[in-house]
Symmetry: C2
Subunit: 462 residues, 2 copies
């Protein structure tokens, strides 16, 4: 008994001392990374070029072709040790001429901005019909018999009381993806939704929708949050409400584009790869600044920071600029497929696709022990204001790399503003803060450093 | 020996269990506070009125008088149980007609925006002189013999590698406060400084300066960071560089204005006071949105949230809208003086004066045990993304309440953008995010709740 108690006592003492130990090298390398990122405007200037000289760049477009060439040239200019393109088949969908929409309250006509959802069919001329408002899919089911020949208006707002906007988005996004298919089941001729946003403004938000196999393809579009409110109020009156919309969207045959890949070759374990990435494509509105220009320039900045500070990684560090995250994840799927075919060994992958805001940590999708290791980094990062190291989702592009051994991470950022801009004309360079962007790049580089060190330690111990 | 080990063992077990315990009531009250703040636009609408209908409001101005009446009326409309004004003597300084400035590089004249520093004398007509650039006060001392009859240009930038911008500001701000006095010692006729900012833009930043007793009062003003760069580059050429400036600033006799105070009377210990506050005055540029309109509306929102959710505090909760933080802290000093005279018992005071950005925690200026108590709240606030509970500075306005027993707190926010706006024409309502503002108000209300609970527990234990 006493012996057991003593053993327990010793193990308690030991447990209380299991604190990660950080070396002087850790401090000096990471400080160097942050100083380099914060004192050099490279990532911000790159973002300026991508946003202002290329602009939005939906997969399959000429602008996306330009962005691929640009990414290739920036990576070569770092210079990365090796830069190459990986062919990816992507869908091609065009919005066509700017959408038209109007709400008729009795005889009064009010024109409003409208955005077709990505993948929607056009209206084939003008579509004008009565509106039936529903709160959600359950409400749609209840009102199913009133919907035939009408335009369904799904007016589901973000729950403002949810602290993290990403969760509110997750709860609401099915109305965008599946709203048209659900409405079509009941004979609706069109589907309009309240934009997926936490802001009250006049920007409609586009984003991917999909038609289920067994339904009629009806046009799908988003209203701004303020216009959704206006339409809702109008429907409370006793007047007849009509909605008119014109969209010329069209789907074309798939085309070939590319992931862009640049890497610093590992000095000790060149066969072991750590990926940093984001997606090069954007929706075909705004400038794709926060979604995901910032992730692209941050990923390239990780390589540049390492070169500029003279850090020579043991593993190969690879920046991957994925094509077509937004409408099918072809870049991510293709990369994982090629990786499997070629037997590439991925130690880890880190994605930045939450906007270029102040970083707050990393979520980690990996084995328990790996997540615990990530958590052990927390005290080190405290002076850099990174505090959140938790199990969680990583990212769309790197998701297909999940195989039970590769550690997947998402850069977590302060997301309160993200859905003010997401998929709108307002996702512009001006809405990205230079320092916040740079802090994210330095945070990613620092996590790569610790992963690189971990590999060295573990391999030496074997 | 064995007994000692056992004792140690038991105390270790106990130590590992000293985790703050939170009740269901804690969870439900705080959740209610956040939901109320995030679902009601009151604070944001209040800020709109203050910024757009009143605008900037330097102490001593008519606009500040209007802001005092407005604060009084908002507090009454909550309704606070008790609203009153506290007379405060404040200085009166006027910028006068918009400043004029130009840089002459040889014969080429470039007009640039200029802002007199608060408290500066005017130029008494046009001041035109050669420029001597110095890096800092040490460099000024070294170049002392070249300065006579010239305009000293102190070109000290924020160190971008410092993670928290507030620290970079702290390192740099003496050039604004004392630059003119230091330059005058060597016979300079004017002093211009690089704006205290982390942004590269065309906004000059004003802010308080003071003349030391024993020096000639020379005009002091700020250039934007980009114009400081331009002037620096010009000075590298071999051409003659002249700087021309016209400022009509004037100092007047002090006037009487007021702190505005509203309170919810405590149900159990009405004599024990918990203050939430910010400052009602701003600099005489922009709209005083982040500095400190946000702190003002958040403080009033704390009272409103408590009323709206039906929380009846044991202690008296008092929102204090301080007048003249910016140019002498008269509101804060007067409040503390009156508090002492009247024997008011302040349990705690919380200030919000770091901008209306996403909150990250509270710094605490108090006794060790009180700081430890504050740290014990951290696990509770983790789902609300508050993670920083540390010993640290509280705020200018509440600072004079420090007496060894009152706990002083500052709401800490993500400050990366703060010095993009601070004391400029760009400190406008549009640069405040609604949710970020609301999260700050709810965080303050929640800390007040825990302080109120602490008082009840401690008083019951006695």
């Amino acid at each position: 008994m006493m012996k057991n108690i003593l053993l327990l006592f010793v193990s308690l003492i030991l447990a209380s001392q299991v604190k990660a130990q950080f070396t002087k090298q850790d401090s000096s390398v990471v400080k160097g990374f942050y100083s380099e990122a914060l004192s050099t405007a490279q990532a911000y200037n790159d973002l300026y070029y991508l946003c202002k000289k290329i602009g939005h760049r939906i997969a399959g477009s000429e602008a996306a072709d330009k962005a691929i060439l640009w990414g290739d040239s920036v990576l070569k200019s770092i210079p990365a040790d090796n830069v190459f393109l990986m062919p990816v088949k992507v869908p091609k969908w065009k919005r066509g001429k700017k959408e038209f929409a109007a709400i008729y309250v009795g005889k009064k006509k009010t024109e409003i901005p409208l955005r077709a959802l990505g993948g929607s069919v056009g209206t084939n001329g003008t579509l004008k019909a009565e509106v039936v408002e529903v709160k959600d899919f359950e409400d749609l089911k209840a009102k199913g018999d009133q919907v035939k020949g009408k335009i369904v208006f799904i007016n589901k707002a973000f729950d403002p009381a949810i602290i993290n906007t990403g969760s509110a988005y997750g709860n609401t996004s099915p109305i965008r993806t599946n709203g048209a298919s659900e409405a079509a089941k009941y004979g609706a001729v069109g589907c309009i939704i309240r934009s997926l946003t936490s802001a009250d403004d006049k920007f409609p938000h586009t984003g991917a929708m999909r038609y289920k196999d067994d339904v009629t393809k009806i046009p799908a579009a988003a209203l701004s949050s303020l216009d959704a409110h206006f339409l809702h109020e109008a429907l409370q009156s006793n007047k007849k409400i009509l909605f008119e919309m014109r969209m010329e969207c069209e789907r074309f045959d798939s085309v070939m584009q590319s992931n862009v890949i640049g890497e610093i070759k590992g000095t000790v374990y060149p066969e072991k790869i750590i990926v940093v990435g984001g997606h090069l494509d954007s929706w075909d509105v705004g400038e794709g600044a926060h979604d995901d220009g910032t992730g692209i320039v941050q990923s390239m900045e990780v390589l540049r920071i390492m070169k500029a500070t003279g850090y020579k990684p043991a593993c190969t560090i690879r920046a991957v600029l994925y094509i077509n995250e937004e409408f099918g994840n072809d870049g991510g799927e293709t990369y994982a497929k090629v990786a499997k075919e070629k037997g590439w060994e991925h130690v880890a992958a880190i994605e930045s696709d939450g906007g270029g805001f102040t970083p707050k940590g990393f979520s980690c999708d990996a084995q328990d022990g790996q997540v615990e290791w990530a958590k052990s980094l927390m005290p080190f990062f405290e002076p850099y204001n990174l505090y959140s190291f938790k199990r969680g989702w990583s990212g769309v592009d790197i998701g297909p790399l999940k195989n039970g051994s590769t550690m997947l991470f998402a850069l977590m950022v302060d997301g309160q503003r993200y859905f003010d801009f997401h998929h709108t004309d307002n996702d512009r360079f001006e809405n990205v803060n230079k320092r916040e962007l740079e802090l994210g790049a330095a945070s990613m580089a620092s996590l790569v450093y610790f992963i690189d060190q971990k590999v060295q330690k573990e391999t030496t111990q074997k």
